[in-house]
């Protein structure tokens, strides 16, 4: 939350960018009937509304003052007919504009989502999920709003003012000219005022996220706070925050309360001038009572378009900044793309060779330099090392989520950059440390491995992965919902499912990131069996945490500080008594702590 805010604050001050505005407008023009529809409706409406005031003048001058009932009736009848027409126009512009707004949002989300699917993993590593989320939600909302209501209000505002002015000039050109002089002042003051208010509200939002942060800390740390008896000071600190928030919010609120009176006062000056000058003109006979009334109405109702335009102007900057961020996402070029000459491989079985590979996530921090490794078809490679040391780097390179900065990686003798990404990815099976399931049923999740799999194939895969039994025990079997992110299942169950999913995809290379968190013993054994089956005959990479897995590997790579510090078989590495030795002994003790736990319970039973 605070992070998103941070990003937004940073980019808020973007200068007015004509190109972006044009591009935003184009989003609307793609659905030009809707845009055309609302523009026609709103233009007609603006003219009509100005004409209504003129009709009111006629009621007074031609009806009442002339004492002509017939004329009065005619004017009222005309007014009524136009009123009904007006309702039709209102219906038209709301329908068109609201639909267009939704449609543009829909389009932009669709485009962005499609682009996100193409972007490389490096993009996702650098970009927080929350940031991307707000591109597809709040930013899209703002742009949609601008294309529909923003443009609409602007057109309406301008036309309202212009047609009102035209009618005023028609009624009395000298008085019309006086009003024309006041309008610019009105518009400028209103716009500047609104901007100021917007800035104040930004401050409020900032304070709000601080308050939220304080709540968060107060609640998650409540046990420590209690034991340290820090309640009083905490309340003082929090009181300070809410005090500041109060000040900011109050200031923003009274500034916005001042807005309307200020604009109203300016227009009251205009009304005053009209009364003065109009009263004098009345004597000379060049102004009627209806005319004076019409002028007052025109000036009074001019406040609405001015207000709306000021609002649009203030919000437009934000919308443009949103648009820029959206377009920057749509224009982002995937770092890893298929070469034009890339071919779809028939198979990627065979040896995997790292040839003088250089790699770095950031320019000045090399992770691999002139790295060479030859993996034979069918070998199992275990990657071990402390958390965050870079074990996934090698896996990321093999899967071509990242590409070497220099050197080559060969699949069966071919540089893998000459193959298509789809060809590689669809032949790699992957099981992640925190197994990711999508909300939906178990069957749907398994089918993710191969979309055209039959139900029988899905069940066979589940059976092979040892997941079948627990699935049947669930209330709805394969049709059970897993919940968002699989929250309704245990970690062990999720892991079994993701193994089954990998089994179904029948990969040629298998990549597994073992879970660090412990799962129950039964699930553990099942996972182990499923892994073994999957690794048979396939080149496999395992980011390993379990001793049994590590020991079974053909080769072990110890990764530390981003590089490979030791490599060899279990025995060779133990012999060295180096990093691997330390890791191994620690792991050995940890794994047996479960046994210790059990022994503490068991004893009571015997006692």
């Amino acid at each position: 939350m605070s992070e998103q805010e941070h990003f937004e604050e940073e980019e808020f001050n973007t200068q007015f960018n004509g190109q972006t505005v044009v591009r935003i407008a184009k989003q609307g023009l793609a659905h030009w009937p809707l845009m055309f529809g609302y523009l026609v409706c709103i233009a007609a409406l603006a003219v009509l509304e100005s004409y209504f005031t003129y009709l009111s003048k006629l009621i007074i001058d031609d009806g009442i003052l002339a004492g002509d009932r017939e004329a009065l009736w005619r004017i009222i009848a005309q007014y009524t007919a136009l009123m009904v027409a007006q309702a039709g126009l209102v219906f038209g512009f709301i329908t068109c504009a609201a639909r267009l707004g939704e449609r543009v949002q829909y389009d932009l989300r669709k485009k962005m989502f499609a682009r996100l699917q193409e972007l490389s993993l490096s993009y996702f590593n650098q970009t927080p999920v929350g940031w991307l989320m707000s591109r597809l939600t709040s930013d899209v909302g703002r742009v949609g709003e601008l294309v529909s209501w923003g443009f609409l209000d602007t057109v309406w505002g301008i036309l309202s003012i212009v047609t009102s002015l035209a009618f005023m000039l028609y009624i009395n050109w000298q008085m019309g000219a006086i009003v024309a002089l006041i309008i610019p002042a009105l518009v400028v003051v209103a716009a500047l005022f609104k901007r100021r208010i917007l800035v104040e509200y930004r401050q409020v939002r900032k304070m709000n996220s601080k308050v939220t942060g304080a709540y968060n800390e107060g609640i998650t740390g409540v046990r420590v706070i209690k034991s340290l008896r820090r309640e009083e000071e905490n309340l003082d600190e929090f009181g300070n925050l809410t005090g500041q928030m109060y000040k900011a919010a109050f200031r923003a609120a009274w500034l916005s309360a001042l807005f309307l009176p200020t604009v109203q006062l300016i227009s009251a000056v205009a009304v005053g001038s009209i009364i003065w000058y109009g009263g004098w003109q009345f004597q000379t006979g060049s102004m009627t009572i209806g005319g004076i009334q019409a002028f007052i109405s025109y000036i009074t109702f001019m406040l609405f378009p001015v207000q709306e335009m000021a609002r649009v102007y203030a919000e437009m900057q934000q919308a443009i900044a949103s648009g820029e961020r959206i377009f920057s996402l749509i224009d982002a070029v995937p770092e890893i793309q298929d070469r034009p000459s890339a071919v779809e491989p028939e198979t990627i079985r065979g040896d995997i060779v790292f040839e003088d590979v250089d790699f770095a996530y950031e320019d000045d921090k090399p992770v691999l330099e002139k790295f060479n490794l030859h993996i034979r078809q069918g070998e199992t490679i275990a990657l071990v090392g402390p958390t965050g040391a870079g074990k996934s780097t090698l896996v990321n390179l093999v899967c071509r989520f990242f590409e070497p900065r220099a050197g080559r990686i060969l699949f069966n003798g071919t540089d893998y950059r000459d193959l298509t990404l789809h060809g590689i990815h669809s032949r790699i099976g992957m099981v992640l440390q925190t197994p990711h399931l999508f909300s939906g049923t178990i069957r749907e999740n398994l089918r993710y491995g191969r979309l055209d799999a039959t139900d029988a194939e899905i069940e066979a895969a589940a059976q092979m992965a040892g997941a079948h039994d627990f699935i049947l025990e669930l209330e709805n079997g394969y049709e059970s919902e897993v919940g968002e992110g699989g929250v309704l299942l245990s970690v062990g169950q999720k892991q079994l499912l993701s193994l089954a999913r990998a089994v179904l995809s029948n990969p040629e290379i298998f990549v597994m990131d073992e879970a660090t968190s412990s799962v129950d013993t039964l699930a553990e054994a099942l996972i182990q069996q499923a892994m073994e089956k999957l690794m048979q005959g396939r080149t496999s990479f395992v980011i390993a945490h379990r001793l049994s897995t590590i020991k079974q590997a053909d080769r072990i790579l110890v990764i530390e500080n981003g590089g490979v510090s030791e490599m060899g078989t279990h025995g060779e590495l133990l012999r060295k008594r180096g990093h691997y030795y330390n890791l191994y002994t620690k792991q050995f003790r940890d794994e047996h702590s479960a046994e210790l736990e059990a022994s503490m319970h068991e004893a009571l039973v015997t006692a």
Binding site: L72, T80, G571
Partner: protein
Amino acid sequence: MEATTDVRQNGTDPNRLGEREKMQENAERLTYDLQNILVESKAKALWRMLSGFRGIYAVATVAAGLAALGRTGVAYLLRYFIDDVLQVEASQWLIPWVALGFIGLALFQGFFTYLTGRLAAQSAEGVVRRLRNYIYDHLQRLTFTYHDRMQTGELISRATSDVDTIRRLYQDQLIGIGRITLLFLVNFVGLLFLDVRLALYSVIVIPFIVAASIFFFKKMEKTYEAYQNQEAKVSSRLQENLTGVRVVKAFARQEFEIDRFEAENYKKYERGKELANLHATFWPVTDVISGLQMLLAFYLGALATINGDISVGTYLAYAGLVINVIWPIRGLGRLVASISTGVVSLERLQQIIRQQREPLGQGTHQLRERLVGDVRFDDVSFRYATPASAADREKAIATQAEEEPNVPAQIAGIPSADREWVLQNISLHAKPGQVIGLLGATGSGKTSLVNLLPRFYDYTSGSIAIDGIELREIARDGLRAQIGIVQQEPFLFSTTIRGNITYGVGRDVSDEEVEAAARAAAVHDVILGFPNGYDTMVGERGVTLSGGQKQRVTIARTLLKNPSILILDDATSSVDTETDAAIRAALHRLMENRTTFIIAHRVQSVMEADQILVMDQGRIVQHGIHDELLAQEGIYRRVYDLQARIEEDLEREIAEVVEATDKRLAGDAGKTNGRNGAVTVR
């Protein structure tokens, strides 16, 4: 108030003085208690919450009425202008004054409009500021059990978005209803004064518009909710895709994902269209109804003028007032509908406020002296308590388990007699300065036992005495000041390192003291390595500390606190091997001259303790020192043996593997005189 003056007189350090002043600003917090908003009637609750701001809120409402009066005034001034000035030769000199009158009325109206907005904001912001402070304080004073079962996200959403809903209720909605109603009433009265019959003709459709508006916005709420739900679905689909991006890529399922997203995305577009359709129906329909009403009024008014019943000026005033009366009414429905949202939020906040606080200062014995640290448990048993009174229990049943203040969710509703004992018949005597080791499996009751000492939970039966004083009689705040806890998973606050070390010490601490504590906790050098030393921020906006570093910061914190009783909750288990020794040393310094309770999973951690308690299923099953316990048949020896066996196994296994490898390598060397792998790593 007295307290703050006192502080100011004593405060000599200018920096401190600034801080105190700030605090004085917030001294107000002590003077209110929001327990009184816990009433059945929501209207009453809202009224009580407004206490202290009722005056200005009333002024805000009156100001809204006066602003409306200003608008009526404009119509009357217009009548005067047309009838008595413009058309009367002798009064022409008044024209400039009438012009100024219009400006004056705008000033009048503007001033009161502004006043309404300002005062409503002041009340609303003031009310929610108090509400925020109170909820925050309340949350940190609720019991452990409450926090055990409430989710952080849920509490935060109540404390932020529900509070904001309340703010809008006061700032926009309630005052908005008042404003529209007053605008209607004042202008209607203005109409009545012009001509009673015409006035009545001009409001015929008002009831229909009000009803239609309320009906529409109620319906609107539902459609809008559906729209928002769909938006939430789009978001969660997106979030799943983004967090699962590796899976999507690994299975090359981009097309499939696009199709799935498309389904939800399109549905949102459809929902948006439904929303648009509702608006596109409501506004034109009410436009026509209101418009026809207005035209009817114009027509009748104009006829009356032609007949000579009213003057031209009156007609103009009448036409103006009719517009003021008819058009704003349509917005009323939106405000009325939004009140139901506010009521839901209020209820959610009341649920928090209803929970009982831990009475920190309650107890017949206020600790003043430093404790010696003699701790005696005598036949103590403990299980989670039921609500304090019958009335409380009824409320608990009525409003589901959530309302029961002191019971975890899983056992709420079970009569207390059937609830499982967490601790049973615990007796022990810890002499001052002794180290008590507690060994046992997860859930054996070790943590529950030590949690009784700071009175995080109160024991059910038996007696606990510290320095001979019954624990139940000691006030919690004084007690907790003398008990230090180093937790298994250390928690640091997002402030500076210094702030974290002095956190909760409760007195002014010099820089030298802080550094001494950090040195003793073996973390001083680490801290100096940070960009801003002791002033480096911890967490998101600063450095990230490793588990071991965090642990040592909390040790330094506890050293400064200088408690006489210490609880170490398996403090070394989450730490990697390299730093293990440093932490051990720091812990030893910390334990000096304090009665210490160590919770442990391994024999090593408790071996040197003066007393070792082995716990299982809430009971003490073994009690003694290391040598005694080793000599007995039981859990302790089993664990000890098992640990020894594990070490043996480890050594043997390594020896075997190494030997086998040695042999193989020797053989390989003999055969190939080299290696065949493509890689070497040094």
